[in-house]
């Protein structure tokens, strides 16, 4: 049965980037249409409705020069990025954020001022973003608090959000700057972000319904009398610029900053893409025990517990079970890494508590995980070919 070209295009527009590249060898027309702008736009838009299939893993310290990409076991053959692109990124850059197939990177070198760029590893295209003033000097000392958002309907545009510390103490204040790919300029949001006095983990943000959520750290640097004694979540509404503090579940804050106790918390998106009740979830790793809650109602800060499990009880073969990093992917899959390996653990449905070994890694002690899906999404205007 010979299919018309437009139907074939429709089918191919639901494939991840790696499969599309493989099937270029089928025939002439299959090798041509992935190059067309309309097809790239369609594929990227369709894949907004699909789950992430891969994740980047890299050392938390940006100077280490390692970036690995691994696919979930079922997606190994169909999703990934070219090795030479990964090698190029490893040697010169650090991944800061990822969204709908584009990744936001900063280059690492000893002398140059910092450069930010957006790239698509599948199409090997990149475009540079003007470095905001606050990152032009002393950038090695400041954190780059940055987010990438490609989730909006407009598939040839993206937004980058940057939070600049004003160094004011009371109240702590960050200026929020937005960069539109199409406009090519940084704009300052009218209202600044007031996250309370704790340090904020800007690399663990969740963007949900026009609101960015952040979690604070939980180090014990405040006395009991301080309103910021307990860790908390703080949100920033992108529409009207309001900052709102959200309480964590009481159980999660209990004993989270006792001396000599390791406690790490992170927030992630909760619930499948198709689920209308998507929300955020909180993962706490304290003394080698994972706890997961999801936010049932934002206004009343009411949480529901999903999981409590000792890492040792997950049946892993390794002896040293120090978890070095974790995240929740696709709204219901806990991904965590030990010093050498990465595992997944289901958080809902049939895969609840099902543990699977995903891969080995060489990123060392302290790592960062960033989900990724290989699309052909356009990088915007002023696109260059990646030098690899």
């Amino acid at each position: 049965m010979e299919l018309p070209q437009d139907i074939l295009l429709e089918i191919f527009s639901w494939l991840p980037g790696k499969s599309i590249c493989k099937f270029k060898s089928c025939c002439m027309s299959f090798s041509n249409f992935p190059e067309e702008v309309n097809f790239k736009i369609k594929q990227a838009r369709n894949l907004l409705k699909m789950e992430d299939t891969c994740f980047f893993i890299q050392p938390e310290q940006k100077c280490k020069k390692i970036i690995e990409l691994h696919s979930l076991p079922k997606e190994k053959q169909s999703s990934g990025v070219p090795n030479n692109v990964l090698k190029f990124l490893s040697s010169s850059a650090s991944v800061l954020a990822s969204s709908n197939g584009l990744i936001l990177c900063c280059n690492i070198s000893d002398h140059d001022p910092i450069e930010l760029f957006i790239c698509n590893p599948i199409t090997k295209s990149q475009c540079f973003i003007p470095t905001p003033e606050s990152l032009q000097e002393n950038y090695r000392k400041v954190n780059i608090n940055i987010l990438l958002d490609c989730s909006n309907g407009c598939v040839d545009d993206y937004k980058v959000y940057l939070f600049e510390n004003t160094m004011e103490w009371s109240p702590t204040c960050y200026i929020c700057k937005v960069y539109h790919g199409k406009e090519g300029v940084w704009k300052t949001m009218e209202k600044s972000f007031f996250p309370g006095s704790r340090n904020i983990k800007f690399d663990m943000s969740v963007l949900h319904n026009g609101v960015i959520y952040f979690i604070s750290d939980c180090s014990p640097y405040f006395g009991r009398s301080s309103p910021f004694y307990m860790p908390y979540i703080v949100s920033y509404n992108l529409e009207h610029g309001m900052s709102t503090i959200l309480r964590l579940p009481e159980e999660a804050t209990k004993g989270c900053h006792e001396n000599n106790v390791s406690c790490d918390m992170g927030i992630f998106k909760w619930g499948k893409l198709t689920n209308q009740n998507q929300s955020i979830c909180l993962v706490r790793l304290r003394e080698c025990v994972f706890n997961v809650w999801f936010l049932k109602d934002c206004e009343s800060s009411s949480w529901q517990k999903v999981l409590e499990v000792r890492v040792k009880a997950l049946g892993l073969k390794e002896k040293d079970l120090d978890v070095r990093g974790f995240m929740v992917m696709n709204g219901d899959l806990l991904i965590f890494a030990t010093e050498n390996k990465v595992y997944s653990c289901g958080l809902s449905g049939e895969r609840f508590m099902m543990v699977e070994e995903i891969c080995s890694h060489n990123c060392g002690y302290s790592i960062r995980l960033i989900p990724y899906l290989d699309t052909l999404r356009l990088c915007g205007t002023n696109v260059e070919t990646m030098p690899c």
Binding site: L3, E10, S78, G80
Partner: protein
Amino acid sequence: MAAEKSSIKIITLIAADGSVFEVEPNIVKEMKTVQSYIDELDQNTVSIPLPNVFGNDLAMIIEYCKKHASEEETKEAKEEFDFEFVKRMKSDDKLRLLQAASYLNMESFLQFMAKAIAAEIENQSVEFVRDYFQIESDFTPEEEAELRKENEWAFK
């Protein structure tokens, strides 16, 4: 116009093999080809020949539309239905239904079938895909070798 449309109670669809299906107006809403035909007519009963769709396929499409048009079914039940719907199909069935969806101009059903076929082929080989769509390579051996080399990473 609106009053006339709502007066239509039953729509008769006649498949390529002559089999006849009587459906309610809300079922064909998704079939834009059929709907635009109805909109142009000024009658209370309509019978529409669909020479490009076979009876078996039309039956399946109607089953799908009924499930998805129902307001009583939960989202989960519809998802479960979709899963089972595709599971019982062979590759040929999927391709035929996809073409029928394209002919009937059914946007979401077309996407649904395209997605199902994409999921079936994504982990397969180049040879499998050629076979699946009955296409032949129009490359010279050199051209194909070069393309494979260029995209070597995608074969691992």
